[in-house]
Amino acid sequence: MADPLLRVEKLVRRFGGITATDNVSLDVAAGELHAIIGPNGAGKTTLISQLTGHLAPHAGTVSLGGRDITYLPAYRRCALGLARSFQITSLLLDFTAADNVALAAQAHAGTSFRFFANARKEKGLRDAAHAALDRVGLSHRADVVVSRLSHGERRELELAVALASKPKLLLLDEPMAGLGVTESQRMVKLLQELRKEVSIVLVEHDMPAVFALADRISVLVYGRVIASGDPAAIRQNDEVKRAYLGDQHVVTHHG
């Protein structure tokens, strides 16, 4: 295929005097798991927000499957096959797990301007919801209200919600955030499975997870991509060591 699935070209976003995204360009090929790493404040979330449409860039373009989506609102991008999970879990707390996922399926199955028939009895939507829940290992918790789910379960549910929209590209904003060791391992295993079906952009702090999962890694420092390549190349890259992995060392030594 000539066009990559996602192409970001010379993206710029400023906040006052700070350039949070500084001429960022990157490609994500179909089937690829592309990780974005970088120290705190490197502009990872700012970048993701521009990909999802929650923040407008000041310059540059974002295209999905060859189509320019730079200024499309979030809901339209979703219809084109872009799904996201949130860094801080963002779910419908007073809905059941199944309802959360079914709503995402509903968004992609015909119009939602239907006023009379009971949506919870639509077999197609329920089946899609249960399939997605099953995918992340949550089907036994389908009828539990989200506010009663554990943090780990909510992270998995985030993923199920994203999957239910049958996306071409998943943007995962720190899916391991706040997970314990076993939960993290389960999440890595899950992503290992999912990557066979869908392209993924993964923003993550958990380095072992990133190096285990990624086909390619882009390193973001002060809003710039300072290196991009496969995990082995990134591990060897001196600039990355200095700017990023070095920092990590300092942190571990002192903390």
Partner: protein
């Protein structure tokens, strides 16, 4: 389900009471109670419609009484101009309310939170002042409706019992519709937006469109209450649109239980009966009513329905 479901039992009891009320009224010869409950049923309808946007949709509209006036003035003005047929008056009342809701909804929904409350309030006050300025239709003094809506022999609105049952049918019909709507695809989206708008946008729903349609549905339903209210009092005045009336409707919804099907009816019954009862005892009835409402809101989260629900769980 184990044992007796308290909230369902109380709801059923209340509905049975509402259905049988005319019987009691005629047996006891107490006409006043029928008049009082006709008003209660009509305002319960208005509260139920407000609950659709406020309880289910999370849109705190502080201008809902505007539709009571618009529905009422549609009936009053048409009657004044010689169009007495209810088959014209009621559709016009609904259409006018829908249109008003569409316009103010489209503007108000650009804002959120406190701003939304304030802007809906401002629009309702505008409607109030416009009505006050309608010199041809009574202005500040209001407009007397000399003849109730005429449904050419189908139903006689001047007959107390028939009119009461018409209002009750309207209320139950509206609640049935709300029940269907909130469980439909559309209803789930609207409730999802109340819970987490950002999430709904991210899974592909344009928030405003759904909220606007919901806003229009609720406004139209309340327009029906307005048309009934004008018939009930044979009179319509700007006062029905005053902001305190919008406040009353909000209190009914919160008192009964936001986001529950029958909560607003319960709220309307309790609120208006208390008002009636307390105002007979003392001129300063509001002094007792206020703290009473405060207690219910403070200690009975989820209003009366919430309280009953907790009794259930023991």
């Amino acid at each position: 389900m184990k044992g007796l479901n308290v909230s369902k039992a109380v709801t059923a009891l209340m509905l049975a009471g509402l259905v049988l009320l005319p019987l009691y009224s005629s047996l006891s010869g107490n006409i006043f109670i029928l008049t009082l409950f006709t008003r209660i049923v009509i305002l319960a309808l208005a509260a139920a419609s407000l609950n659709l946007i406020m309880g289910y949709g999370g849109m705190m509209s502080f201008g809902h009484a505007a539709y009571l006036g618009i529905g009422g003035y549609a009936v009053g003005i048409l009657a004044q101009e010689g169009v007495g047929s209810g088959f014209v008056q009621f559709p016009v009342a609904l259409a006018a309310s829908a249109l008003f809701a569409l316009v103010i909804g489209a503007l108000s929904l650009r804002t959120r939170g406190v701003y939304f409350i304030m802007i809906t309030l401002a629009f309702a006050q505008m409607a109030y002042y416009v009505a006050s300025g309608l010199a041809r239709y009574g202005g500040d003094d209001g407009l007397t409706v000399y003849k109730r809506s005429d449904f050419s022999g189908l139903i006689n609105l001047s007959d107390r019992v028939q009119f009461y049952y018409l209002c009750l049918a309207g209320l139950l019909g509206v609640i049935f519709l709300i029940w269907r709507v909130v469980n439909s695809r559309f209803g789930l989206v609207v409730q999802g937006l109340r819970s987490n708008e950002q999430r709904l946008q991210a899974i592909g729903f344009p928030a405003k469109r759904y909220q606007l349609v919901c806003f229009v549905i609720a406004g139209t339903m309340c327009g029906l209450a307005g048309a009934l209210l004008a018939n009930n009092t044979d009179f319509v005045s700007p006062a029905v649109m005053y902001w305190t009336r919008s406040g009353d409707l909000m209190v009914m919804v919160i008192l009964g239980g936001m986001g529950t099907l029958f909560g607003p009816v319960m709220g309307a019954v309790v609120y208006l009966l208390l008002e009636e009862f307390l105002s007979q005892i003392t001129e300063y009835w509001a002094l007792i009513m206020g703290p009473l409402l405060l207690l219910i809101v403070l200690f009975g989260r989820g209003g009366i329905m919430g309280l009953l629900g907790r009794l259930n769980r023991g």
